[in-house]
């Protein structure tokens, strides 16, 4: 199993092959289209991470000490970015997720999508992923 940092590096390398902005976005859009849709039963209010313009739904579960995320959005670029976040964070331990710096977003030139003004739910998505990890960590601690 690769570490979060290793997966981030992999993505940065993938993106370094693109010369222009449209190639990058074509790739992200493609990732978005390929993201496995979330079942309708999960697309409910409590799983909603609402941005001003687009909506993300996310669910997570803890299995054998690792967190697995699944998510979807009504906007395809956000969906592609969400797909990247899942690729990086899903399947890792809560502590590793909480400490993840997620520098790859800046390195692949997508930092603007985390900016406050974008209000697209992606920043809230990252926060929610880490919050879930914190909750699972607290649950684990209380069991021990």
């Amino acid at each position: 199993m690769k570490s979060i940092v290793e997966i981030e590096e992999e993505i940065v390398e993938d993106f370094s092959l693109f010369d222009s902005w449209d190639e990058k976005y074509e790739y992200i859009i493609d990732m978005g289209k390929k993201l496995k849709p979330l079942e309708d039963e999960h697309k409910k209010e409590e799983n909603k991470i609402k941005g001003c313009q687009s909506t993300v739904w996310m669910v997570s579960e803890l299995k054998d000490g690792k967190i697995y995320y699944r998510a979807e959005s009504d906007a395809v670029i956000v969906k592609g970015l969400v797909s990247l976040l899942i690729r990086v964070l899903s399947g890792h331990a809560p502590t590793e997720i909480i400490n993840a710096k997620l520098d790859f977003i800046d390195k692949i030139g997508m930092k603007q999508h985390l900016a406050q003004t974008r209000s697209n739910g992606l920043l809230s998505m990252v926060k929610q992923m880490k919050l879930d990890a914190t909750v699972y960590l607290a649950q684990q601690a209380s069991k021990n």
Binding site: D22, I29, Q53, S54, D74, V76
Partner: protein, 413 residues
């Protein structure tokens, strides 16, 4: 830049030279700024007025006896005269400076409406209002027990005037409608609304956020009771706006905020209010931006509203025509009378995705619900992509947008 006099004929290249920001690039491409309904860019005259104020005569107004205070007061009050003339108000005391349309509407809500409305009364707004012309009234209905009623919008984005006349009854005490829609561009038949409302004794407030920059505003001819203006949508600075109100109404209204400037005499037992317009301008006002607002209005008048409108109408006509050639596009807002706003959705494409891909090509448009969620619900859409045009935009820029749109749609489909 020198204050060159503009030719009598409208010359967009010459106009553009007055706006320094238009020279910049975004993502390595020349900026195409089509988000003018959100805010307009500022001519160098406005920027100079703003910095000039701080460099040469910054002082607190109305109280100081020294020269700077006199100059600052004169400049501040000169803007009031300019605004009065710009919208043809009867008296300068009817021009109240606020932070913008939102504050102007809230001022009327918290003073006139809060003291004049009671349970059973009705406030009439329309289905195409900006949240700023919905929420203040909702807050007031909670306080007074008055009801909020809504004039519906048809498929073209026009007010259903038959329904308006049906809704208008003796219970209606206030009608507050947008003069021109920010989301659709629709110019509403406000004269008909005002005349009908007055017949049953209701007063009328107009949200002029979008209309002031495009249309000739004559508040006396309109006979509206209140009119709200945002400076930053008329090429002026942000943070300053205007409430026009008929003098008799303003005189009868209680103050909005208490503080300095708005008082005549203060004692712990009783305080008396200053006269108009100062009764509604508590505290040190936004002097710098008010001073610069004059420069914006002067600039617009120097170029000529009629010339600007002809140019913008042509841009809207061209953009509408070109947009309709794009496969799967649906224009939202096809009213007969429109200001230069082209709002649309593309089948199977989220507006936010379009916005991101246009931005990467240097084109700034607005995507989303435009703070008119009830209106978006009316059309069954989460939002639109909106291109809104100003005096400095060109047909070449529309071509850039159309190409950028085609490229974006190809990437997304």
């Amino acid at each position: 830049m020198q204050a060159t006099s503009l030719h009598t004929a409208f010359d967009v290249d010459q106009v553009r030279r007055h706006f320094p920001i238009l020279k910049r690039e975004v993502k390595g491409k020349p900026l195409v700024y089509f988000d003018n309904a959100a805010t307009t860019q500022k001519p160098v005259e406005v920027i100079d007025a703003l910095t000039g104020y701080y460099q040469y005569f910054n002082a607190n107004i109305h109280r100081g006896i020294h020269s700077l205070a006199e100059e600052a007061t004169a400049a501040y009050e000169a803007t009031r005269d300019t605004v009065q003339q710009f919208i043809n108000a009867n008296q300068r005391e009817e021009i109240i400076f606020t932070r913008g349309v939102t504050e102007s509407i809230n001022l009327v809500a918290y003073t006139w409406a809060r003291t004049n409305l009671k349970a059973g009364d009705e406030i009439l707004i329309s289905g195409m209002e900006h949240h700023s012309n919905i929420v203040p009234w909702q807050l007031i209905t909670e306080m007074t027990g008055a009801k909020l009623k809504v004039i519906p919008v048809d498929d073209n984005g026009e007010l259903m005037m038959d329904e308006f006349h049906k809704l208008l009854n003796e219970k209606v005490k206030l009608v507050s409608v947008v003069h021109a829609s920010n989301s659709l561009g629709t110019i509403n038949p406000v004269k008909e609304i005002i005349d009908s409302a007055h017949k049953i004794g209701a007063i009328v407030m107009l949200d002029g956020a979008q209309s002031t920059v495009h249309l000739d505003i004559d508040v006396q001819e309109l006979d509206c009771d209140f009119f709200a203006i945002s400076s930053h949508k008329v090429y002026g600075p942000t943070g300053i706006g205007v409430l026009y109100g008929k003098r008799a109404l303003l005189e009868a209204m209680p103050p909005f905020m208490g503080g300095g400037e708005m008082i005549k005499d203060v004692s712990f037992e009783k305080t008396t209010w200053n006269e108009l317009p100062y009764k509604f301008e508590a505290g040190t006002p936004n002097i710098a931006d008010t001073v610069a607002l004059k420069a914006a209005i002067d600039f617009v008048q120097r170029i000529g509203k009629k010339q600007i409108r002809m140019h913008e109408d042509e841009l809207l006509r061209y953009a509408t025509e070109e947009l309709q050639n794009i496969d799967g596009i649906r224009l939202i807002g096809t009213a007969k009378q429109k200001v230069s706003v082209a709002s649309f959705v593309v089948e199977g494409v989220h507006p936010q995705d379009l916005g991101i891909l246009l931005d990467n090509q240097g084109v700034a448009v607005r995507t989303g619900h435009h703070c008119t969620q009830p209106l978006m619900n009316r059309f069954g859409i989460p939002g639109t992509t909106r291109a809104s045009f100003a005096m400095y935009n060109t047909k070449d820029e529309i071509d850039v947008m159309i190409n950028a749109l085609n490229k974006a749609i190809n990437l997304l489909r």
